[in-house]
């Protein structure tokens, strides 16, 4: 996978993140890649792993408590444990979107189940051999007014096998298969 393919893969991650937050009612603006490799987090983290023949790694979602509370289905009555669970479900939804998107480029992965953490000054250390990028998103104007300046972060980590390619396929999913999020198939 060359650098342009890695960039494309990260474009997919950013687009999937934006779409997920929008589906949860949070408009976000992309704020670029974090420059510090191990930036501290005073937030809730959820990490979910994936693996496939050509690609394996993890996706880490970092979200401020305020954002998790504002988007939780209970409408603000969520406990701390509920927010941890919600962060895990969001990471699951995000990786699901990424999985469905990269399948159209010939990359097939399997997903693990998420693990969630919360704490102060959490630091992240990467496996040196892996490719990684930490994408930052700021909440949109409407949410800034309500919640202040808040940053979400999606860290995409990948070990890419030699020969892995990101090539758009024109192959349509077989009849009777879902095409993506929200699709309903009755057998």
């Amino acid at each position: 996978m060359d650098s342009s393919e890695w960039d494309k893969l990260n474009e997919i991650v950013v687009e999937c993140s934006r779409a997920l937050f929008a589906a949860c009612g949070v408009h976000v603006d992309y704020a670029g890649v974090a420059t510090k490799d191990d930036a501290p987090f005073d937030t809730t983290l959820a990490v979910i792993g994936y693996g496939g023949a050509h690609l394996r790694g993890s996706v880490l979602l970092s979200a401020p408590t305020e954002v998790l509370r504002a988007t939780h289905p209970s409408g603000g009555a969520a406990s701390d444990d509920d927010l941890l669970d919600w962060a895990g479900e969001l990471s699951n939804l995000l990786l699901g979107r990424i999985k469905n998107a990269i399948r159209r480029y010939g990359l097939v992965i399997e997903m693990s189940t998420p693990l969630m953490f919360s704490g102060l000054h959490l630091r992240i250390s990467s496996v040196r051999s892996s490719n990684h990028a930490a994408h930052r998103f700021s909440c949109g104007e409407a949410h800034k007014l309500a919640l202040g300046e808040l940053l979400l972060q999606v860290r995409f980590e990948a070990n890419v096998e030699p020969g892995a390619r990101l090539t758009a396929t024109s192959e349509e999913p077989p009849a009777g298969s879902p095409r993506g999020e929200g699709d309903v198939i009755l057998f």
Partner: protein, 124 residues
């Protein structure tokens, strides 16, 4: 008497979203956190009208639960897979195991409500 619907998902937030979408129709809703607990709940409630089932779960995933339920003679209950997955091979596996529907998360509440009503035999 209310129709029973078992909701199997390891995320309690996901279960809450499902409950929020379908509880208005008066089902008796039973929760389970993975496939193993889902099987226990299905055994305890043989009159279940529908199982709403996630795919990726610890201990026993959705396809394993579906397969085991079928081998135990509990495959007559309709199963609706509700998951982030859209991989055609997985959809075909579920279909071959007798699942009746597949919905990709995040779902649209009215669509889930309609599918649950149709599959549980409670279509309005």
């Amino acid at each position: 008497m209310s129709k029973k619907v078992i909701i199997v998902d390891d995320s309690r937030t996901a279960r809450l979203q499902i409950i929020n979408a379908i509880s208005v129709d008066g089902y008796e809703l039973i929760e389970a956190v993975d496939g193993k607990e889902g099987l226990e709940k299905l055994r305890a409630h043989p009159d279940t009208a529908l199982v709403v089932l996630d795919l990726n779960m610890p201990r026993m995933n959705g396809l394993e639960m579906l397969s085991t339920a079928k081998s135990l003679g509990q495959g007559g209950v309709p199963f609706l897979l509700l998951t982030t997955e859209a991989q055609p091979e997985l959809v075909q596996q579920a279909r071959a195991l007798g699942a009746k529907a597949w919905i990709v998360k995040p779902f649209i509440p009215d669509q889930l409500r309609a599918a649950v009503a149709k599959l549980s035999g409670a279509a309005r």
